[in-house]
């Protein structure tokens, strides 16, 4: 708990708008674009697992 608290405590508390140019770059998104999303979909079909951050969960198709 102390480690996690210290880790987040060392983060910047805020960024000014002009300091966000890198963070706001589209390539910095936590969710992939089309090609990555489709390959994630392929992975959930061809493997027995589930992607945690994928928009699509289980169900909706005759796959896993």
């Amino acid at each position: 708990m102390l480690f996690i608290g210290g880790f987040f405590g060392s983060c910047a508390t805020s960024l000014k708008p002009y300091e966000r140019q890198y963070i706001n770059d589209p390539e910095m998104s936590m969710f992939g674009a089309n090609g990555t999303k489709f390959q994630q979909y392929v992975n959930t079909i061809r493997e027995g697992s589930l992607a945690a951050e994928g928009k699509k969960g289980s169900g909706g198709c005759g796959c896993n």
Partner: protein
């Protein structure tokens, strides 16, 4: 006193009387329309088809076009997607062992429609949506409800989404035109002498949670979890099982499955214009499957208009306790599968692509174009190629501010 001194002095003196432009105190409103045209092409081949009991061709080609539309107007947004996966499958043809039968070519059509509303005061948004997909032996109706919130400092985001899918595995909806009455579960041709299941529905409930934290100007981390509960017919009716005593049956799996996935992500924008998106993820379920993923996607900004997209992913899986290869299941077992997707495997995916932004600042027209290729290699011999292309069109329009009406002084 020379002319230069007078000029400089006059300019310096005039600064005392200069006034800055008054900032506009009204919000700038934009109406945005985004159209995305996608085409995904998938080819695979292998020799462990579950349709033929764990041995046999897995050759399959999928042609996957789709259309997406997103429109935001003020604090409201709608999104719509319509797509089709046209599937040519050699293993599906082995269900009834008839060459060039109707089962050789299948199509899965899908659509989803969503609405979102942003609340400025709390910096949060609510989204709801419906989805549907249909193919010859599967129908799905889905709904979702989502919530996201950004902290006041814009340094953290929280998200939660609940998805529910109600699926029907009966065959026949595309048999006689479109949306015909479903008829029956489709079993392998030699095993149609009895009903193997007393259920034809499958329900899935998924809860996805997410948290992201901006660490500094160049680093963001995220934690995501997914919990899933599935009930109903979880086996695939046309998957064959060959027992040690040479008898046959169809696949049997429990009527309930609980899944848990968690992933940690770290995105960093390095000083050389290279963005690294790193992920490590774990998975477990009550079928006995354990999975571990290590993934990296890189974006190399060659220029403001061109970005290179190499990627690599390694996955290792401990298989389900219900899995055994062809001819290795005992007929006295309760549950059994020879589907290698549920076996102990490891896989490697490598990819390369590029993204192009035709005009960096442009309020209409082609916004970006990307093409990506992935090669997938699985330890049991399955090989797959994916080609994903995307054209993204964007139109932004500033909404005119309403001028207050002038009062008539007379």
């Amino acid at each position: 006193m020379n002319k230069r001194t007078i000029l400089v002095g006059s300019l310096a003196f005039s600064i005392l009387f200069g006034k800055a432009q008054k900032p506009k105190n009204k919000a700038f409103k934009v109406r945005e329309t985004e159209v995305e045209l996608l085409y995904n092409h998938y080819i695979q081949d292998g020799d462990n088809s579950a349709v033929t009991g764990g041995e046999g061709t897995e050759r399959l080609i999928v042609y996957g076009p789709s259309f997406g539309l997103k429109k935001t107007f003020g604090k409201n947004g709608i999104n719509f997607q319509l797509g089709a996966d046209i599937i040519s499958s050699a293993s599906t043809d082995n269900i009834d062992r008839v060459q060039s039968s109707a089962s050789r070519l299948d199509a899965r059509s899908y659509t989803n429609l969503g609405y979102s509303r942003y609340f400025e005061k709390s910096k949060s948004s609510i989204s709801i949506g419906l989805s549907g997909s249909i193919e010859s032996d599967y129908f799905s109706f889905g709904k979702y409800l989502g919530w996201t919130k950004t902290s006041k400092s814009d340094m953290q985001t929280y998200s939660a989404e609940l998805q529910v899918f109600n699926d029907d595995l009966r065959w026949g909806r595309l048999d006689d035109g479109f949306l015909s009455e479903p008829q029956f579960l489709i079993y392998p041709v030699e095993l149609r002498f009895q009903e193997w299941y007393d259920e034809y529905k499958r329900d899935s409930y998924n809860l996805n949670l997410g948290f992201t934290q901006v660490l500094d100007q160049r680093n963001t981390i995220g934690i995501f979890t997914a919990l899933s509960l599935q009930k109903g017919l979880l086996a695939t009716p046309f998957h064959r099982i060959f027992f040690t005593d040479n008898t046959r049956a169809v696949e049997q799996l429990p009527d309930q499955r609980q899944k848990l996935a968690i992933s940690l992500k770290w995105n960093t924008f390095t000083s050389g214009g290279v963005i690294l998106r790193n992920k490590i993820a774990g998975y477990t379920d009550d079928f006995g499957i354990l999975g571990l993923t290590i993934d990296n996607e890189t974006a190399i900004k060659l220029s403001p208009k061109w970005t290179l997209l190499p990627s690599a992913r390694y996955y290792i899986q401990q298989g389900s306790k219900y899995f055994a290869a062809k001819g290795e299941h005992d007929a006295n077992e309760t549950y059994y599968t020879s589907d290698y997707d549920l076996s102990s495997i490891n896989s490697l995916t490598i990819g390369m692509g590029w993204r192009h932004w035709p005009a960096v600042r442009k309020n209409r027209g082609l916004h970006s174009f990307s093409i990506q290729y992935f090669y997938y290699s699985r330890s049991n011999g399955l090989r797959a190629h994916t080609l994903a292309t995307s054209f993204n069109f964007l139109k932004k329009k500033a909404l005119k501010e309403k001028r207050p009406k002038r009062r008539n002084k007379n």
